[in-house]
């Protein structure tokens, strides 16, 4: 067994530099690597490119990096609930590449699995396809999309072990597995770091080979964006 544990978030983020490209898991505020984002804010790393489905809200998640103008470029699919984001984008302060959500996930997967490019129907005939190769297969038109390249993937899992094996919970899974192994270095923060041998090998979502560093996050706020309930 190859050990991947690091002591804390500081050690987990060693080697990050200004100008790097980061992948960050999560959908909305669900399943985001909270502790790592806070550390990126603390380190004040600059001019970063973020590949993340969502840009957080004004005061939580990636919104924290946005507010401090640490982000040079965002590659996302949806940015609807962040006013500061919209402002920075429309004013041109920040570069933005909008990518269809399925294409975003698949470009991560492709990076992880050594597929340099693939064809998808998403975005054909739209702005997204501009400058890209398109091609017909079986009478339908497709766009060629390429794998992402990134320096670090930052993901959050529910449980993990010393070998780097990860298990996710509920819809906090989302983009996190797709980003594991998709960058040069993958850093996973987990709610619970369990002893090796505790996780059923049949239930592991991401084998440790895709994870270089793992640590248990100090605390999780897990903020809810839209609390919707029904009466009993």
């Amino acid at each position: 067994m190859i050990r991947k544990t690091v002591a804390n978030v500081q050690e987990a983020c060693e080697g990050i530099e200004d100008g790097m490209t980061f992948m960050l898991g999560g959908f909305g505020l669900c399943g985001i690597p909270e502790n790592i984002i806070n550390e990126l804010v603390r380190r004040n790393v600059q001019q970063i490119t973020c590949i993340s489905n969502y840009a957080g809200v004004d005061d939580f998640g990636l919104g924290l990096l946005l507010k401090k103008h640490q982000i040079k470029k965002m590659i996302s699919s949806y940015v609807g609930e962040n006013a500061e984001f919209e402002r920075q984008m429309l004013s041109g302060e920040m570069e933005v590449e909008l990518v269809p959500q399925g294409t975003l996930a698949q470009r991560c997967e492709a990076a992880r699995t050594g597929i340099p490019a693939f064809f998808t129907p998403a975005g054909y005939g739209t702005e997204v396809a501009e400058g890209k190769e398109t091609r017909e297969f079986n009478g339908k038109m497709y766009v060629m999309e390429e794998a992402f390249k990134a320096d670090f993937s930052f993901v959050k899992a529910w449980k993990g072990d010393e070998a780097g094996n990860l298990i996710f919970k509920g819809t906090a899974r989302n983009f996190n597995p797709c980003m594991c192994g998709a960058a040069k270095i993958t850093v996973a923060e987990v709610e619970e770091l369990v002893p090796v041998g505790t996780l059923d090998p049949n239930h592991i979502h991401i084998p440790g080979i895709f994870v270089q560093r793992i640590f248990q996050g100090e605390k999780y706020e897990k903020r809810i964006e839209q609390l919707t309930v029904r009466k009993r």
């Binding site: 959908f27 909305g28 505020l29 669900c30 399943g31 489905n53 996302s76 699919s77 949806y78 940015v79 609807g80 609930e81 919209e86 984008m89 429309l90 933005v96 909008l98 269809p100 959500q101 399925g102 294409t103 975003l104 996930a105 698949q106 991560c108 997967e109 998808t120 129907p121 998403a122 975005g123 054909y124 005939g125 739209t126 702005e127 997204v128 529910w158 996710f168 919970k169 509920g170 819809t171 906090a172 899974r173 989302n174 983009f175 996190n176 597995p177 797709c178 979502h205 897990k222 903020r223 809810i224 964006e225 839209q226 609390l227 919707t228 309930v229 029904r230 009466k231 009993r232």
Partner: protein, 218 residues
């Protein structure tokens, strides 16, 4: 009387058939789940990674790790499954989802749809919409027939950046149910008390009216 958002959802719910896997977009489409007949087997997919999505949780039972694509807290029904975003869009692109219901800012008579961007003014992003419209065989658009200025949103050609081309088959608005065929809007049903003339006036695109156009009943 034009339909309320709830009634639009109610009307769309009649299009949901036994054995359908359904993806519901944000907004009016989300309401559709409330009106699906309970004697048929249907499962709702949310593209953030759940199949078998249930209603909102009871107060105090909400789980921050369990949300839908609109970031609302939800529940999982028996038989549900969770998966990652790549698998979720594999379902969508692979045409395993039987019906997609989503909103639109504009629809054109050739089936083009625009719903993610107003240049220089508003950019929400396409989210999963481009994958959905490019892949789904069966798309229903839920929308208000006209914008706040009273201008038609059912057009000869879309003016906003497109989300997908030639993909919309059916539209349910506050005024009517329409089908897109041979690059024209075909009127199928009208809202209770809404005249064909009113619909005609609110529709910029070519509108085909053939035979008797029944009123929707609720």
């Amino acid at each position: 009387m034009s339909l309320t958002k709830e009634q639009i959802a109610q009307r769309i719910a009649r299009e949901v058939k036994d054995g359908y896997y359904v993806n519901l977009g944000i907004g009016i489409p989300t309401l559709v789940a409330n009106y699906v007949r309970d004697d048929i087997e249907v499962e709702f997919q949310s593209e953030n990674g759940i199949l078998g999505m249930g209603p909102f949780p009871y107060e105090g039972e909400e789980d921050p790790d369990l949300i839908n694509a609109g970031k609302q807290t939800i529940t999982a029904l028996p038989g549900a499954s969770f998966f990652d975003s790549a698998m979720s869009f594999g379902m969508i692109r692979g045409q395993h989802v039987d019906l997609t219901i989503l909103g639109a800012m504009e629809v054109a008579q050739n089936g083009d749809i625009a719903n993610w961007k107003i240049p220089g003014k508003m950019v929400k992003g396409m989210g999963g919409a481009m994958d959905l419209v490019a892949s789904a065989e069966n798309i229903i658009v839920a929308m208000i027939h006209t914008n706040r200025a009273g201008e038609s949103k059912l057009l000869k050609r879309c003016t906003l950046p497109l989300t997908g081309v030639k993909c919309v088959k059916k539209i349910v608005t506050n005024l009517a149910v329409l089908e897109i065929k041979d690059e024209k809007f075909h009127l199928l049903e009208r809202a209770p008390g809404v005249s064909i003339e009113e619909i005609q006036k609110a529709t910029e695109g070519d509108l085909v009216i053939e035979g008797e156009i029944p009123e929707m009943k609720f």
